[in-house]
């Protein structure tokens, strides 16, 4: 797509340079695409595309690298924060972010994310919480809500047998190495705008060398939740937010005055 550039025409909306022009593999109504675009817009606006290296996870966003027009690597399941650490420590001037789902980050990758935060690893993490394993077809995640039906909790998540949802932002906020930890949601336009600001703040945290940053984004999975896209967005607002309250869990004082 070529953007119109005649003097009379003012461009008000275009594909970010950090975004590639390819067809998405995500399901209709999935908010991964929105999250991807927000990251791309922020990297464009900060002029960081040529110094950014992304780390893709395993899960639905295993193909994240296809959508970002920048250097990318593809980590093993849950290991993105370790891989990002390996890169950042030998290239400290570059901007490094991981993009991870809840199975990747909160289940198999729990050790890697906790220790990256504890070390104050100067990387940014985009954490997609949709309360389910998407890629493998809708199994229970550590973030699955009590009573929620999945293919591996077919009668609804029974907390007596399978425990309770893990609140990652709250836990990571206890780490002294964390600079910026917030939870946002992608269920409507207002919250999407807030999510974008948060992503900007996370990258600003990294650029200022203020330690580990993470934006948790409550996201929808209509396919595996087995609901229509609009109902999925309602589910985020009505069922997920009460369990995963939105908010700023850790903001280093140096960031408090920053307006983005």
């Amino acid at each position: 797509m070529v953007a119109p550039t005649t003097p009379e025409t003012k461009v008000v909306f275009k594909r970010p340079e950090s975004f590639t022009d390819v067809t998405t593999h995500y399901c209709p109504g999935c908010t991964h695409g929105v999250a991807h675009r927000l990251v791309a817009e922020v990297i464009d606006e900060m002029g960081l595309r040529e110094k950014t290296i992304g780390v893709a996870p395993v899960g639905c966003s295993v193909f994240a690298y296809k959508y970002f027009n920048m250097d990318f690597v593809e980590a093993a399941h849950g290991r993105a924060p370790a891989m990002a650490t390996g890169i950042k420590r030998v290239l400290p001037q570059k901007t490094i972010f991981t993009y991870q789902g809840d199975g990747d980050l909160a289940s198999i990758g729990m050790a890697e994310i906790m220790h990256a935060a504890a070390r104050g690893e100067n990387i940014s993490v985009i954490f997609i919480n949709n309360a389910i394993f998407g890629m493998t077809g809708g199994q229970m995640a550590p973030t699955t809500l009590p009573g929620m039906k999945t293919t591996s909790s077919p009668f609804g998540r029974d907390v007596e047998l399978t425990g309770f949802p893990i609140r990652m932002s709250e836990m990571l906020a206890t780490m002294d190495g964390a600079g910026y930890i917030v939870r946002r949601s992608l269920h409507d336009a207002k919250h999407i705008r807030q999510s974008k600001k948060a992503i900007r703040m996370a990258i600003e945290t990294q650029e200022r060398g203020l330690g580990f940053s993470m934006v948790e984004l409550l996201s929808s999975c209509p396919t595996n939740w087995k609901v229509a896209p609009d109902e999925a967005l309602k589910f985020i607002a009505e069922s997920m937010i009460p369990v995963f309250p939105l908010g700023d869990y850790k903001v280093r004082p140096e960031l408090a005055g920053l307006r983005v």
Partner: protein, 374 residues
């Protein structure tokens, strides 16, 4: 530079630094820990990266990330730690990025113990991780050789974009002996073209082991195996000792080979024409050389500090041309030269064919030795 008295693990770490290692990511484990401790001190002094990871799983994935930037990076660990790294090792192999892994092997399986062993032969030489890939495996037998081969390991890793394992046992990690370190190499100024460094003024680079279409994965597998065949052609390394007129050949790698060389000197004094063939590259394995030896000696004795893992590879090459016998110590036990001398004498006198399985014959002899030892 003159020879100094150097401790194995520390010398190996300094050798890696001088070879241009810019990132070390590790986790403490005996008997390799001094490697990490040395790196913790030296790397920050040089402005290079050192991270004590939360686990070997994280450490190898940090190596994976570092390797993707085109910098020389590595880890060092011991047997159970290397088991944990196998996932990341497979990803590194699948992504075709260079990395060096030093395994200071100890007794196993399981938690085992912290004494020297060669029981990781299969894990290191045959791959260990999942999928179709081929690591280069170097098995030095002295502190000096390890210093030299750690430098070589980085060169081979870069040249072939391949994993290089350097395997030594706890003996070599812990021993002190005179050795000479090479001069410090200059670090390369520009990253290789495939590295991820931020796509400044060029098309983005993407590094991954994902080939979702089996047809693409097959093409990748073909590329990997063709590269391996090239490595087999170019990189075979071994050492021979008193082999010119040998009627009997001892084949052993690392410490086992080194202990055998003392026994061979003693046997020569007794008039037994025996020599040592010591593979240094366990992968690629010196198949042609062993085949040639099997055509000119009367009998072969394989000596290892495991249950005969390399024995199977040697027997497959010899194909029954001459009897192949075996002697091994296990579980962290290092054989004494006298034990191997006894074995050389026995093998030199033994005119009988191998009665079935060399391993079975050895086990009955070893059980007696173990019994007497107690």
């Amino acid at each position: 530079m003159a020879k100094e008295l150097l401790k194995g693990n520390e010398a190996f770490a300094e050798a890696a630094i001088r070879a241009g290692c810019e990132g070390f990511y590790g986790y403490p484990i005996t008997p390799s820990t001094e490697f990490l401790e040395y790196m913790a001190k030296r790397m920050p002094q040089l402005g290079r990266a050192f991270v004590q990871a939360e686990s070997e799983v994280a450490a190898i994935n940090m190596v994976y990330g570092g390797a993707c930037t085109g910098k020389r990076v590595m880890t060092a660990s011991s047997s159970p730690g290397v088991s944990l790294m196998m996932e990341g090792i497979s990803y590194i192999a699948g992504t075709e990025v260079p990395a060096v892994i030093v395994n200071v092997m100890r007794g196993g399986p399981g938690l085992g113990n912290i004494a020297p062993s060669q029981g990781d032969y299969h894990q290191m030489v045959k791959g260990g991780g999942h999928g179709d890939y081929f690591p280069i495996v170097l098995a030095p037998a002295s502190v000096q050789e390890a210093i030299d081969y750690i430098s070589l390991a980085f060169d081979l890793a870069d040249k072939y974009r391949n994993i290089v394992h350097v395997i030594v046992d706890g003996n070599m990690g812990q021993m002190m002996e005179p050795a000479e370190l090479p001069p410090m190499r200059e670090l390369p100024k520009d990253p290789p073209s495939w590295a991820v460094t931020g796509a400044e003024g060029r098309q983005p680079n993407f590094l991954s082991s994902i080939y979702i279409d089996p047809a693409d994965e097959e093409v990748t597998n073909i590329r990997l195996v063709k590269r391996w065949m090239e490595i087999e052609k170019n990189e075979i390394r071994y050492s021979e000792y008193l082999m010119e007129d040998a009627e009997f050949a001892v084949i052993g790698f690392g410490t086992a080979g080194r202990v055998a060389s003392s026994a061979i000197r003693a046997a020569r004094e007794e008039g037994v024409k025996v020599g040592l063939f010591r593979p240094i590259t366990l992968a690629p394995f010196p198949k042609k050389q062993i085949e040639e030896i099997s055509k000119r000696v009367k009998r072969i004795l394989v000596v290892e500090m495991n249950t005969g893992m390399m024995l199977d590879d040697v027997a497959a090459i010899v194909q029954g041309r001459v009897p192949v016998e075996f002697y091994g110590r296990l579980g962290g036990m290092t054989p004494f030269p006298d034990e191997i001398l006894d074995e050389i004498r026995r093998v030199a006198d033994n005119k009988a064919p191998i009665n079935g399985d060399a391993r079975a014959e050895w086990i009955s002899r070893l059980e007696k030795i173990v019994e007497e030892g107690r």
